[in-house]
């Protein structure tokens, strides 16, 4: 499944993204399963709210963390997230 550069990403209604106090990390919850996220993955997923395409997500995060060159890392994570059904386009 390839990323469409123009379309925004939204988080899947079949999954839940949630901060876990006991684990001190964000997790994705789905039927009988859980994925533990590192901070950067969680930051990317939180921007998948149906309003931003990939360029906007990269721009927002580079701005937020005052850095550049995040495109490749963010692209490869979004591909994984799309393949796993955590996020959707369209």
């Amino acid at each position: 499944m390839a990323i469409n550069p123009d379309l925004p990403f939204k988080f899947s209604p079949m999954h839940r993204l949630q901060w876990e106090e006991a684990q001190q990390k964000d997790v994705i919850l789905y039927p009988e399963g859980m994925v533990e996220l590192n901070q950067s993955s969680a930051e990317i997923l939180k921007l998948c709210d149906g309003t931003r395409n990939i360029a906007q997500i990269v721009n927002d995060l580079e701005h937020k963390f005052a850095t550049t060159g995040l495109t490749n890392d963010i692209t490869s994570f979004l591909e994984v997230a799309l393949k796993n059904g955590w996020i959707q386009q369209n």
Binding site: P13, E20, A22, L29, Y30, P31, E32, M34
Partner: protein, 375 residues
């Protein structure tokens, strides 16, 4: 006590709340204990709320409402709401029996995240026979309604010799019903399945054929449907990492409040499993004899103790070791390194002989009468 381990255990992540042993179905592979009819008392709504609160505070996040049939509890919506307020991801594990559209909506509003519906086979005749109840058509309607109301739908089919030949039709049914996940659970031989093993355990050829069909289907539906394939451990040569390690991840609370490190642990001798009416979840998890019994590696006998794979599979399943070798400290006999590994082949041979036998025994269905007779 065995395996007592002074380091602080990892907190529970998975809470299985067996709300009731009552069930309108009589599946002959039910994982409930054989003597369930002797444990008829049930926790109150307030007890359950306290348990959910305490376990959540420790870090439990996945919650299964199970049984028996959890829908037999009138307070289910109230418990679902409490679970949602606490931040659990809640799974309803149901036969679908008695589930109406009104109830599906009510549970959704209360915050239920997902419904898993079990179907026994791909044809009405066999499904109703295995369930011991006329339920097939209703289950299919329930599966549609679950989808209609926006829940992720998990279809669960327990696989055994009576239905393994239907694998292609079972997969077709899952597709037709629009399942988001399909759990193909090869029967694990505990509880009622242990009693009926000669009639349920398929041959290796049947397993292999069914697995190939399921594997091809998995590739075909990739991206649309996820397949959970629970392996048939009798045909493996290494045991499963049962419960992800004793007392590391899973906490089961039985209908009467007994806390168990796995849902079969009630059948093990001398664990003195604690009751949530007497202790907090934190006390039970961290301090009780039962939960510390097989933590770590100190309890192990050979060949597990010196095995370089012990951190991978923890010696396999304690209940299986007990049921098949009579000693719960032994290596799970599924392991080819176990001196008792021949018991697995004997079970396979015995099941094969029973198919060929002219006077095949009938299945023993899971109901209160049979429970009292067998216990």
């Amino acid at each position: 006590m065995a395996g007592f381990n002074k380091t602080k255990p990892t907190p529970p992540r998975w809470l299985l709340a067996e709300l009731s042993y009552a069930c309108p179905l009589q599946c002959p592979y039910c994982s409930n204990p054989i003597d369930y009819a002797q444990h008829q008392s049930e926790l109150t709504t307030e007890d359950w709320k306290r348990v959910l609160t305490q376990a959540r505070k420790m870090g439990a996040v996945q919650l299964g409402f199970s049984g028996g049939e959890p829908l037999t509890r009138k307070d289910l919506p109230e418990l679902v709401k409490h679970a949602r307020d606490l931040g659990y991801y809640s799974n309803l594990i149901t036969s679908g029996y008695g589930l109406t559209e009104e109830k599906i909506i009510q549970l959704k509003e209360a915050g239920l995240d997902h419904i898993q519906v079990s179907i026994q086979a791909s044809t009405q005749e066999l499904s109703d026979h295995l369930a011991g109840t006329e339920s097939y058509q209703h289950k299919k309607e329930v599966a549609h309604l679950v989808k209609k109301h926006g829940y992720p739908m998990v279809l669960c089919v327990v696989i055994h010799r009576e239905n393994i030949h239907q694998m292609p039709q079972i997969l077709e049914m899952a597709e037709e019903l629009g399942a988001d996940y399909l759990e193909l659970a090869n029967t694990q031989y505990y509880g009622w399945a242990h009693v009926n093993r000669d009639l349920l355990l398929p041959t290796k050829e049947q397993f292999k054929q069914a697995e190939e069909i399921a594997q091809a289907f998995k590739e075909k539906v990739a991206g649309r449907m996820k397949i959970y394939y629970v392996v048939p451990d009798f045909y493996e040569d290494r045991p499963k990492a049962c419960m992800n390690g004793w007392g590391t991840t899973f906490l089961t609370i039985a209908p009467d409040g007994v806390a168990l490190p796995c849902h079969s642990a009630r059948e093990l001798p001398g664990l003195d499993c604690p009751n949530v009416k007497d202790y907090s979840i934190e006390q039970i998890w961290n301090e009780s004899k039962a939960f510390n019994f097989f933590r770590g590696f100190e309890w192990m006998k050979e060949p597990c103790r010196s095995c370089d794979e012990k951190e991978k599979d923890f010696g396999g399943c304690r209940c299986q070791a007990y049921l098949l070798t009579g000693d719960m400290y032994n290596a799970d006999p599924v392991c080819s390194k176990s001196p008792d590994h021949a018991t697995i082949q004997q079970a396979i041979d015995s099941a094969r002989a029973s198919t060929l036998s002219a006077d095949e025994k009938p299945l023993i269905f899971r109901n209160s009468k049979n429970s009292r007779t067998l216990s």
